[in-house]
């Protein structure tokens, strides 16, 4: 049944790709708005980057809307998200996640409100990286299952700092991008299983990273890594990673496909599968 969703996302992407962009306020280069992460922030797939979503430069507004589907062995995550960016300085984002426990039965839902601000630098220009900081407020829409497995709270705040740098003429004369994000979090499985747990209830500092290479201005390949805490004794929580291909046909559309390895989730090991995300930029 998820195959249909992927086909739908792909078709919607193609439909958007042929729409001529009519927006004047897109003062940054194509792909510098990146994609939308599962938590709604601008970035890759699972790691928020120091980049701000859309193509808004100084004095400009931009917005994005996105749909993401992650389909691993025993679970499926659906995310709808939107963002608003002003001045290449402030990014506001909202996301609703629905996590389908296909094998176990039932579902989890979470809402995320995020704000990110560029503190310093520019992704492209200068020798130093662009540095941004962000906060995400995450709230479970249902807490029965997280509570039953030992989660302490149904809401939580994540704090993160990201540094990103692009090299226009990197190795192989290709444009490369690297991003490192440090996140302070109490979230279990990024909050889908609540916040804090019987094993640990304190904030942990986690490292997340991404690196990508642009084959040309429209196609990029790369990988991401996301470290996660292990707060619940009922099941081991592991880091996530993904290997992605991103396509930016125009400044209006970004399409990302990835292989995702989400490790063990709720006692079910080796959750691997396909990640697909479609983003429209206005």
């Amino acid at each position: 049944m998820h195959t249909n969703k992927f086909v739908g996302v792909a078709l919607a992407g193609l439909a958007l790709a042929v729409v001529q962009p009519v927006y004047a306020d897109q003062g940054r280069f194509i792909a510098t708005g990146a994609a939308t992460t599962i938590d709604g922030a601008g970035g890759g797939g699972i790691v928020p980057w120091a980049t701000l979503s859309s193509y808004a430069e100084e004095g400009q507004w931009g917005a994005t809307a996105s749909l993401t589907e992650v389909n691993v062995d025993d679970f499926a995550l659906s995310v709808s998200a939107a963002s608003l960016t002003f001045d290449n300085r402030f990014e506001f984002s909202i996301a609703r996640q629905r996590f389908d426990l296909s094998t176990i039965g039932g579902e989890l839902e979470q809402d995320i409100i995020g704000v990110k601000t560029r503190l310093y630098g520019d992704l492209i220009y200068g020798d130093l990286p662009q540095i941004s900081a962000g906060i995400q407020y995450k709230k479970n829409r249902r807490f029965d299952l997280p509570s039953a497995v030992g989660a302490v709270d149904d809401s939580g705040l994540d704090y993160y700092v990201s540094a990103a740098k692009a090299w226009l003429d990197g190795p192989f004369h290709r444009t490369w991008l690297a991003n490192v994000t440090l996140r302070a979090t109490r979230a279990n499985q990024t909050g889908l299983l609540g916040f804090g747990g019987d094993q640990n209830d304190d904030y942990k500092l986690m490292t997340e990273a991404a690196v990508g290479m642009f084959i040309n201005r429209h196609w990029a390949v790369g990988m991401e890594y996301k470290q996660k805490p292990n707060n619940l004794s009922f099941a081991d929580e592991q880091h996530w990673r993904d290997y992605f291909v991103a396509y930016f046909p125009t400044k209006s559309v970004a399409l990302v496909a990835a292989y995702a390895d989400l490790g063990s989730i709720a006692g079910l090991d080796a959750q691997e599968g396909i990640y697909v995300s479609l983003q429209a930029t206005f």
Binding site: G27, E57, W167, F172, H173
Partner: protein
């Protein structure tokens, strides 16, 4: 921990430590089609600018033939060709123009379009873009 788990971190570290490789400039000059190719590229570039309502106002009082000659000289010299740029330095030229980040990017986008139109390979495009990006502080917000 399997090796693959630390691979992204290793690659990021590698990428962060790696200095931008020095452009093999004579190769770049050849890849751009030498002086004739650069002259053609600058013509296409100026036609793109002329059609770009975001920035064309900055060029209304410009002597386009002179600008074309100076741009060709400047790019030719920049990529290691046997030319000498005879114009004024970038800061002098752009002081008082108040060029915004978005306008600078628009100009570069026109160059990208022109390079695509002239069939310049991605690697050579990136080398030229990296050289021009270094001029950002000498052009923007002066």
């Amino acid at each position: 921990m399997r090796w693959i788990n630390v691979l992204p971190g290793v690659l990021v570290t590698f990428a962060l430590l790696l200095p931008a490789p020095a452009a093999a400039k004579t190769e770049l000059y050849s890849a751009l089609g030498e002086e004739a190719g650069i002259s053609r590229l600058m013509e296409t570039f100026l036609l793109e600018i002329a059609a770009d309502e975001r920035i064309v106002e900055h060029f209304i009082d410009t002597d386009i033939e002179r600008l074309h000659r100076l741009l060709t000289e400047q790019i030719c010299e920049l990529v290691g060709g046997p030319c000498v740029y005879s114009g004024e330095d970038m800061v002098t030229v752009h002081t008082g123009m108040g060029i915004s980040h978005a306008e600078f990017n628009a100009l570069v986008e026109n160059l990208m379009t022109a390079m695509d139109a002239e069939g310049i390979p991605v690697g050579a495009q990136n080398q030229l873009l990296a050289l021009l990006a270094e001029m950002h502080p000498e052009v923007v917000k002066l």
